[in-house]
């Protein structure tokens, strides 16, 4: 985190190398969030680049009292939604490319069909809940950061996440029974 602050200070002054470090720190999380929203590699890379360009250009307006990820996440979601609105290209179908590029860790018993069922269950959630569970499953943000992003208390975030996970579980159960 101290490194992050150091690089952010340099990047604010226009240091490209320092900013590249910031990109590296958040690369996996931001790419994952965008990819889970857009489901397309090319669009994801375009939007990913756009997000970090906006971040670089607006670093001076970043309030260092706030958590950097919270600010970055706000820009990320705004850019994703703008992209979807402009291009209307968020595919509803789950493509092979999309499934292959996502790995489920912590559950060795997960089959490809289970993964598909999980992604479909996530897809059927309301947008705000989907964004919340993406953050959690991607381990992109801690409970405290999610609380700051959503404006909820940490205990409320925990309760909400628990309910969402339960609903996902029920939907996957339903999928199993159909299958």
């Amino acid at each position: 985190m101290d490194d992050e602050k150091y690089y952010l200070t340099l990047a604010k002054q226009g240091d490209y190398q320092a900013f590249e470090r910031i990109v590296k720190i958040y690369r996996d999380r931001i790419y994952g969030i965008v990819f889970l929203n857009l489901r397309n590699r090319e669009d994801t890379e375009d939007v990913f680049q756009d997000i970090f360009y906006k971040v670089f250009m607006n670093l001076k307006s970043y309030d260092s009292e706030r958590k950097f990820f919270t600010w970055l996440y706000t820009i990320t979601l705004n850019t994703v939604y703008t992209f979807i609105r402009k291009r209307k290209r968020r595919s509803v179908e789950i493509a092979v490319e999309f499934i292959d590029d996502i790995q489920v860790e912590g559950r060795e018993d997960f089959t490809r069909e289970d993964k598909m069922a999980l992604l479909q269950a996530m897809e059927s959630l309301p947008d705000d809940e989907r964004q919340l569970i993406i953050l959690r499953y991607m381990e992109a943000a801690g409970i405290d950061e999610i609380a700051e992003i959503t404006g909820l208390s940490e205990s409320n975030v925990k309760v909400k996440l628990h309910r969402i996970r339960k609903r996902i579980f029920e939907m996957m159960e339903g999928h199993d029974e159909k299958g």
Binding site: Y16, F19, E20, V23, K24, R27, D28, Y31, G32, F35, L36, R41, E45, F48, Q49, F52, Y53, F56, M57, D100, D101, I102, Q103, V104, E105, G106, R107, D109, F110, T111, D114, L118, I134, Y137, M138, E139, H162, R165, I168, F169, M172, E173, D176
Partner: protein, 150 residues
């Protein structure tokens, strides 16, 4: 398979190799393009300003390269007197006014630029003369042409 709990799941997404370098390249290019555009806008604004100044100077807010002269022809009972000259390419005859008080025909003419100009009075459409011009020459028809230097 029974999925009794989805809480311990962690999703990871394969990130294309070199994405951070490509992103930095894009950022550098966009920033450079932005600077270029900003400079171009500055030059364009400068050019527009220069044009505006030129326009202002040319169209008279500031004095420009033109001279107003008054041509005089002594009145001898003519019905009308006009004047033409090289100052307007001999294209237009300018009607002179009868100044009763001074008993002369007069016309105020704006001449653009500097140099030597020729002029001629046309009296009642038939007589072509230089009148009492100080400097005069004769044209091919033998008519007098007045000369003025500005």
């Amino acid at each position: 398979m029974k999925k009794d709990n989805t809480g311990d799941i962690r999703l990871t997404v394969l990130v294309p190799e070199g994405i951070e370098q490509r992103t930095m390249d894009v950022i550098r290019k966009r920033v450079a393009a932005r600077i270029l555009l900003r400079n171009m806008m500055r030059y364009a604004a400068g050019a527009v300003m220069a044009l505006a100044v030129t326009f202002t100077v040319w169209f008279g807010v500031l004095p420009h390269n033109s001279t107003k002269i008054v041509l005089i022809y002594a009145f001898h009972g003519e019905k009308k007197v006009e004047v033409a000259g090289s100052f307007n390419g001999w294209d237009e005859r300018i009607a002179m006014k009868h100044d009763v008080k001074n008993d002369v025909w007069s016309a105020e003419i704006t001449v653009e630029g500097k140099g030597v100009f020729e002029y001629q009075f046309i009296v009642d459409d038939v007589i072509y003369t230089a009148g009492q011009a100080e400097y005069k020459v004769k044209d091919e028809q033998g008519n007098e042409v007045g000369i003025m230097s500005l």
